[in-house]
Chain length 109, copies 2
DNA sequence: AACTATTTATTCGACATTTACGAATTGTAT
DNA sequence: ATACAATTCGTAAATGTCGAATAAATAGTT
């Protein structure tokens, strides 16, 4: 039963890539996850999830040109695919639906 | 690094229990997950996640009285704890925040 | 120019946690 | 005994996690 659902980190990574525009690559994605989700994560974990999302066709990638700065290797830039967008939308609808069934009162015990 | 985050299924299960009131136990939770999330899942998977959520103190449980029907064993009834509510809220805020940064346009390519 | 060091970045290999299922067990009513 | 409702157990697959290895670029040295 592989790739049937979006894992917790997978969904976050997809959302982060969708937030970034033309500069979504490993290092920046790691920083954004750490800042926006208030959680620490290593760069290898990030690359791992990016690769898995690519295999699932939720992300597509291309290499940038190297930059002039010291150590400026080419970067692997990511973009959310249509399938990725669909997966995100489905997930959001499902969760919004679940939340809509929870009265405020339930959280006021 | 155990229990640092709410897994994908863990979050769904928590939300489902929050939706149910006084009848949140294995079988019913399984049915609700299948209906509301349009996905199939076995009863053992459900019990497994319920147990893990209990160990993390996101759920609390008590046994009901046996019922009069044939095979009516006592049921293990679940309720979301304060910590569980907090975890759900945190997760929701994080995701809402991420979605707020994605312009509609980004999904109209 | 050729080396070596430093920097930015990605890839690899291994392990931990979560998700998933079928089978076994428990307790109740017929 | 048998059938039924429910939970628990054992194991495998998918996802999440990290440290170390590798790759490619610039800066400094000789």
């Amino acid at each position: 039963m592989k790739g049937t659902h979006l894992g917790e980190l997978e969904e976050i990574a997809l959302l982060i890539v969708a937030n970034l525009f033309d500069n979504a690559y490993g290092v920046v994605i790691k920083q954004e996850i750490e800042e926006k989700c208030n959680r620490s994560i290593t760069i290898s974990t990030v690359h791992n999830v990016l690769q898995r999302l690519s295999e699932k066709d939720f992300l597509e990638s291309r290499y940038s040109e190297p930059t002039k700065e010291r150590g400026g290797k080419r970067k692997l830039l990511f973009r959310v695919t249509r399938a990725g967008q669909a997966a995100l939308s489905t997930s959001k609808k499902m969760r919004d639906n679940l939340w809509s069934g929870i009265p405020e009162i339930a959280f006021d015990r």
